[in-house]
Symmetry: C2
Subunit: 674 residues, 2 copies
């Protein structure tokens, strides 16, 4: 270890220690143990440009063990990212750029939000898939414009999480040779030694997935780490795991103990650690000049890498103008101009259509118009119907096509979709049955928190899926997802709303969940109904029928819109005039101005929400005097129409419930209401 | 293969095929391929008594690949469980006992509800842990009263799910030698061949977890399967995986294709299959006499096993009367008489207490009173504080104690808790941070669906956890869990409510989630407030303060109850009389009679709900004219008190919001309301 290496590692270690100490909160153990490997990676291998954290061809680095955030902030500060020392001094404080766990969009250079364990591991796989797909799509002989690596630092906690197993197995299958993970193997977890719960042979496990596994016996041996990284970055078509034996809290009185985990060392501990490792006790937040200069050389290297790349990109654009434009468009994250012109429209006369099938048509339409649209399902393509015809396969027979076969791995799938979205350049979706959104919920939440442009597709959206029974029938999922801040949930009522919903999902910022039926639904006539504009407002007046003022308003979503329309017709026949509001997105509707919302849902008019799911959130819209026809139990195994009928989703029950909300004199002729 | 073996396997195969055909829905592929291994297991190894599916020492069998339910129903019917042939004829129909996926409590002999992949795998691990713990607790030299095995049939889908990896690694660590899983290795998943997404070396992977792995090359070779099972059931301290190469849809025109997966074979396909395998075309639902007689011998064997066991139990009870009584109590599933007498009570004068710490005291109290209470955390004991002092360790140094170190595996943890609960005899909990309830959500849902007596403990229950930031701060979790039918969610307001909440969790049927704070909270004086009775009603009038009629009602839960009380005092000072309702459980409150509910929350009085989480479900309680102080964004990294304050959880904001809900003349003196 040269003097400047030594000084640089010490700088990263003690900036981190001082941050945690100043905050009186945080994890000093990981930075002390893992600083050497992070240093070698960043100093000798990572190709990035601190002056432009958005340079498209940069290597990606993820701190999957997000609790070690102080180490990442130390790296970002010292290598020249726009993260002042003063931000490090305000670690974990309100308004600082140095939150407790790394947050993408909050701190320059943070590629993805991490902390919930395993998420970073899986997102890295997504980034490597995105890179491979973009390289395959755009690179031309002699013009490897997209050519970067993805690195992560992972912990025992990451590797214990099931999502990491899912992602690792898939990465092995696809053969992501540009993926390299450093495993901070410190033998200590939060409860104590990893032998409490984690005695598996990690190397053997990853070899079983098809990874190339290397071991570094001493986490302070920079040259051994360097050698392993040098081997790893020469791709042999396998993802790489480098198992580095480290010591949590290295050099501190708490070294190799669980107490190095989630607490500051305390003044005495800091003093002892600095003395032990030969670091000046003061000033705190010390960046010795030589270390600062050395680490800061990243800026010069980065500027050169980016300038070289820009020149190559310009040459590429001259040589392949069409591709050049498409690449620029893709990397800009904007949709191609006019991409949505002439989208499909469905005619009611052509028969009923399941919204999953309208979804199939739409994603294939999108795929034709947007060359970087890709995705797949968690081994359910025949049911979710989310295959991109002619799109090729990702990772089969060496291919790098658009159809990703995620396997029965919902959680990793959605995290990988997040990783692809955070990589940029691609537009990615994952698909499964709606009830299994639960399996992917932590990834969906993280997508919402990062505002990643992730597309979560869910079919089989209610008890109407029928025979598979309550294990497969969603009930509480709609409101559970609507409760996640920043997620747009879309449940279109028919094929035409599905087209509009997909359009909205692509054009709005942040992630969207698109929730589709298994069963066929009547098509709403776009000539008669303001479907496209209505969907863009989240909720809208679909239909008014009958004579006189509106006596009642139905609020319905998805498959229940046609039920509400049928109830409306029955009520009209008996002289009761009602309005049907279709509400494909509660979030989008809630963003509209009060004037619009009150025009659609005027106060004082009785309201009845109809949705084949938990009623939990509808009371905000129907008020105390309103009603909700929902489901407050689990479903049952039987043909879908039977289940719907038994649970009250039939015209007589809806009509009866509506009439009961009206004063007797407004109930029209031949009342059947109790 | 003897003639009767052949006939028995054929019976299982074609009962399943005919069921799927009659329902025009279901999965014929798994039963055709896996019937031989299921037959050998049930006929030659499984110790059970079809006449008493609740015999405590029976071997457990789980069909983790729940989509093959027809095979399980065929086994149950033919071996003598109370499942008539007519039920098989009504497979997947409303009201039948043969739902699309196996449902515990619905069909005799179904040990756990399966279908969502990986859940059965993890629950089996829980059952094996429960067996080991009970054996350790109750068995005495020469009296191995608890001594049974746990088997499961698992599919590629199970093994792809992360939860299975988590559970498998933990099972290896603990050394569950009585666990044996048969892997139906048919090389076909729903999208196509498993090579699409699942090329890992499964045997090597399980060996890396510490499992004993065996291979059976031909899934129709009964003797090879028998030999592997015979090896597996002689414990060497390792869990067992037997990888059996099978052919999905064996014998049918769809053999070895994905089309054997989720669809009936159709009349032609059924005919071709029966012809190919030499089975009579009619009658359908054929149980040849010899097969029926042979398979039915399970009844005789089972009766003898149980009678022998009963005799041994009686002898045990005579010899160890104290243990005998405790065993009877444990196996009955009832709590010890008077278990709740003299539970701890907290005095406000002794200072503030975090509800997680009151929880620590309470679980240790429970553990002292209930010998079969066990559990642990997902590597967070130092933070969740859920260690059972003196309870010993599960699986460390050969021990079988009460503290289970689950590792960072929230999903498997809660499924294992479910498995322990479904095993019976024990009362089990799992613990993690509240935000990570998302990781375990599919298991929590399944617990609610099965009504398993599972205890889910969550600490760090709001943004008040502070510096760890939005990745760790729950927001939408409370209402997301409350939306799950049949789950009791408890968020106690102080130490005394925590005692009452734990009591309620134990005494109510079905699973409960107990949601606790990281931060200290004032203690509600049990002499002044009706805490214990109030909690048992879910919500109750905690406090009324001021002069005159009640102008406004606060509804608060958990840490926000003391905030509401503080606001109440401020309002009382200005002459505004308010009520504070503490609502530790929305579900329990909603079960109370209308009279009680309207006494606590009378219509016509303005209401303001205060809860540091998503407001989504509170509108049902506060109505259109009410208000909710909640959180409709993600949190932020900063000290907890700062985050709470910035998000509006402070007395001035609560007072101001309350006043704004009142007509001006009721706002009292020195109004600060806008």
């Amino acid at each position: 270890m040269s003097a400047v290496d030594d000084l640089s590692v010490g700088t990263l270690r003690f900036l981190s220690v001082d941050m945690v100490e100043a905050a009186r909160s945080g994890h000093p153990g990981l930075p002390l143990g893992a600083a050497p490997m992070a240093y070698v990676l960043w100093d000798r291998h990572l190709r990035h440009n601190p002056a432009n954290p958005k340079w498209p061809n940069r290597d990606r680095f993820l701190l999957s063990a997000g609790h070690g955030s102080a180490l990442l902030y130390s790296l970002l500060h010292t290598t020249g990212y726009d993260l002042a020392l003063d931000e490090l001094r305000h670690f974990r404080q309100w308004g600082s750029r140095t939150p407790g766990h790394p947050e993408a969009g909050h701190t320059p250079g943070v590629e993805a939000t991490t902390g919930p364990l395993g998420q970073g591991f899986a997102m890295g796989v997504g980034m490597a898939i995105a890179e491979r797909f973009l390289a395959n799509t755009f690179n031309r002989e002699g013009h490897d414009l997209i050519d970067h690596r993805t690195f992560a630092l992972v912990s025992d906690g990451d590797l214990m999480e099931g999502i990491a197993s899912e992602a690792a197995s898939l990465a092995g299958r696809i053969g992501l040779g540009k993926l390299t993970y450093l495993y901070d193997d410190n033998h200590v977890s939060l409860e104590g030694g990893t032998e409490l719960a984690f005695t598996e042979d990690v190397g053997k496990r990853f070899a079983s997935y098809g990874w190339r596994v290397q071991h570094v016996a001493d986490g302070n041996d920079l040259e051994a780490i360097d050698a392993a990284l040098s081997t790893a970055i020469v791709s042999n078509g396998q993802p790489n795991l480098i198992i580095v034996r480290t010591h949590i809290g290295y050099g501190s009185p708490r070294q190799d103990t669980k107490d190095a985990h989630g607490e500051p060392l305390g003044p005495d501990g800091v003093r002892a650690t600095k003395e032990k490792l030969g670091w000046p006790l003061s000033p705190t937040f010390l960046v010795p000049e030589a270390a600062g200069q050395h680490l800061g050389e990243s800026l010069g290297r980065g500027a050169k890498w980016e300038a070289d790349w820009n020149a190559r990109r310009d040459e590429y654009a001259r040589k392949f103008p069409d591709f050049g434009q498409k690449l620029t468009e893709a990397l800009s994250g904007t949709l191609p101009t006019g991409w949505a012109e002439g989208l499909p429209a469905y005619d009611p006369k052509s028969g009923d259509v399941a919204t999953r099938d309208a979804g199939t048509a739409m994603i294939n339409e999108i795929s034709r118009r947007i060359p970087t649209f890709l995705g797949g399902s968690a081994d359910l393509n025949p049911s979710t119907r989310t295959y991109l015809t002619g799109g090729g396969e990702m990772g089969l027979d060496g291919g790098s096509g658009k159809n990703v076969h995620f396997g029965v791995r919902e959680h990793a799938m959605m995290a990988i979709v997040n990783g692809m979205a955070m990589h940029g350049g691609v537009l990615a979706f994952g698909a499964t049955f709606f009830v299994f959104s639960d399996y992917a919920r932590p990834a969906i939440r993280l997508g919402a928190l990062m505002r990643s442009k992730s597309l979560y597709v869910f079919t089989h959206d209610s008890v109407a899926l029928g025979e598979d029974g309550p294990t497969h029938q969603p009930v509480e999922q709609l409101w559970s997802l609507r409760a996640i801040p920043g997620l747009t949930v879309l449940r279109p009522a028919d094929a035409n709303e599905t087209v509009a919903a997909w359009r909205l999902a692509l054009e709005r910022p942040g992630p969207a969940a698109i929730v589709l039926t298994r069963q066929k639904l009547p098509v709403l006539d776009p000539a008669a109904y303001p479907v496209a504009e209505g969907v863009s407002q989240g909720g809208y007046t679909l239909s008014e029928a009958g004579e006189g003022p509106v006596a009642l308003i139905f609020i319905a979503t998805g498959s229940e819109v046609s039920l509400a329309l049928a109830a409306q017709r029955t009520l009209a026949e008996r002289g009761v005039r009602t309005r049907v509001v279709s509400m494909p997105s509660v979030e989008v509707f809630s963003e509209q101005g009060a004037q619009y919302r009150e025009r659609v849902l005027p106060p004082g008019v009785p309201k009845l929400a109809v949705e084949a799911g938990s009623p939990v959130g509808w009371w905000r819209f129907v008020g105390e005097s309103g009603g909700v026809i929902g489901i407050e139990r689990f479903g049952a195994s039987a043909p879908g129409p039977v289940v719907l009928d038994r649970l009250g989703f039939n015209v007589p029950h809806v009509v009866e419930t509506a009439l009961a909300l009206l004063p007797p004199e407004q109930r029209g002729t031949s009342s059947t209401a109790r």
